[in-house]
């Protein structure tokens, strides 16, 4: 019987032991992990993970229900078409920082999308203080166009007072 892939999304108040409990339950039900992203966002622990197994979607939910309820978390399950060993290498990295205000992410990503930049990974955070919040964002992605074209696409943001750095990513292989 062939394995199905699911994307599991789990969210709940952060506390020690979440990953241990969830991964133990998955292991005990014969499920395997693929690529995952797990991090704390605003006091919540968030998990997105590729999981494979022979189970159907309803069966998977039933099996995970006890551990999810015990942890007080929310679970979302999506059947997905997925493959491992298909990583794309980023060739451009963009870092953005500036006084926090509405629309920074929308403006930056709209400019990138228009320039043909495909985002592989985006992390953003609000740093600074309550009184002076600072928005910091790092984006890694792939673009066919040269770094200079991305620079030009983001130039209006600079004029708007946002600090934008664009760097070619030259991955060292050795």
């Amino acid at each position: 019987m062939s394995n199905n892939w699911y994307m599991l999304t789990l969210i709940g108040e952060d506390k020690p032991g979440i990953v241990a409990s969830v991964s133990k339950a998955l292991f005990e039900h014969g499920l395997n992990l693929g690529e995952t992203s797990m991090l704390r966002l605003g006091g919540n622990f968030t998990i997105m993970m590729m999981v494979s197994g022979v189970h159907g979607e309803a069966d998977l939910r039933d099996r995970l229900k006890p551990v999810i309820e015990a942890l007080g978390m929310c679970l979302h399950v999506d059947p997905i078409q997925a493959h491992l060993h298909e990583h794309l290498l980023p060739n451009i990295q963009v870092t953005v920082s500036g006084a926090d205000r509405a629309g920074i992410v929308a403006q930056v990503t709209a400019a990138l999308a228009a320039a043909g930049f495909n985002i592989l990974d985006l992390e953003s955070d609000v740093a600074g203080t309550q009184q002076k919040p600072v928005y910091i964002m790092q984006i890694a992605g792939v673009a066919e166009v040269p770094v200079e074209a991305i620079e030009r696409a983001l130039e209006p943001l600079r004029l708007d007072g946002v600090d934008v750095n664009v760097n070619a990513v030259e991955t060292y292989i050795g």
């Binding site: 955070d125 740093a127 770094v147 600090d163 750095n165 760097n167 030259e170 292989i173 050795g174």
Partner: protein
């Protein structure tokens, strides 16, 4: 000349420390020829270290002259018994490895190094290196010490708060 088999994770031999080269003979130079052919055969390999092909001697090859955008470099270098005598600065950069297929990660390396080494005939070499080439040599010397870049990978999130802006508002 021959293309040698590359050891890949989780082969424990990659964790082994390599011994200094003491005999600068034809056998060593023949091995270096094979190592270079293996590097050229590797997908997009910029550097290679002898222990990656199961030869546990302190020999590495790097060639940073073929990057998409030119970087400061000393061309193709065969470095025997390389030793870094001075480190300065640090920056994050993306690395991958012939011994760890289909995985890349961010690693912090010194931006400037002073390097002593020998050539395949035992003659002394000395270099000041920076940036990408300094990174290459640090990555390869790690192999000689039984260390893989996966032992050094850091989260980009770590960098968010430590990032040093070298050129404000311009090309970094």
């Amino acid at each position: 000349m021959a293309i040698l088999d590359i050891l890949t994770l989780p082969d424990q031999a990659l964790k082994q420390e390599s011994a200094p080269v003491t005999e600068f003979d034809d056998e060593l130079r023949a091995f270096i020829g094979d190592l270079e052919e293996t590097r050229r055969n590797g997908p997009a390999a910029v550097g290679i270290a002898a222990p990656q092909v199961g030869y546990f001697r302190r020999v590495v090859i790097v060639d940073c002259s073929t990057t998409r955008k030119p970087v400061p470099n000393h061309g193709r270098l065969v470095l025997v018994n390389p030793e870094i005598t001075h480190w300065e600065g640090y920056e994050m950069g993306r690395e991958g490895c012939l011994s760890v297929p289909d995985y890349t990660g961010n690693v912090i390396r010194a931006t400037h190094i002073h390097l002593l080494a020998q050539d395949p005939y035992g003659h002394d070499l000395e270099f000041d290196m920076e940036g990408y080439e300094a990174r290459a040599v640090q990555h390869e010397i790690d192999h000689l010490d039984g260390m893989l870049f996966v032992d050094r990978v850091v989260s980009r999130r770590t960098d968010l708060f430590q990032r040093k802006v070298y050129q404000k508002g311009g090309k970094g």
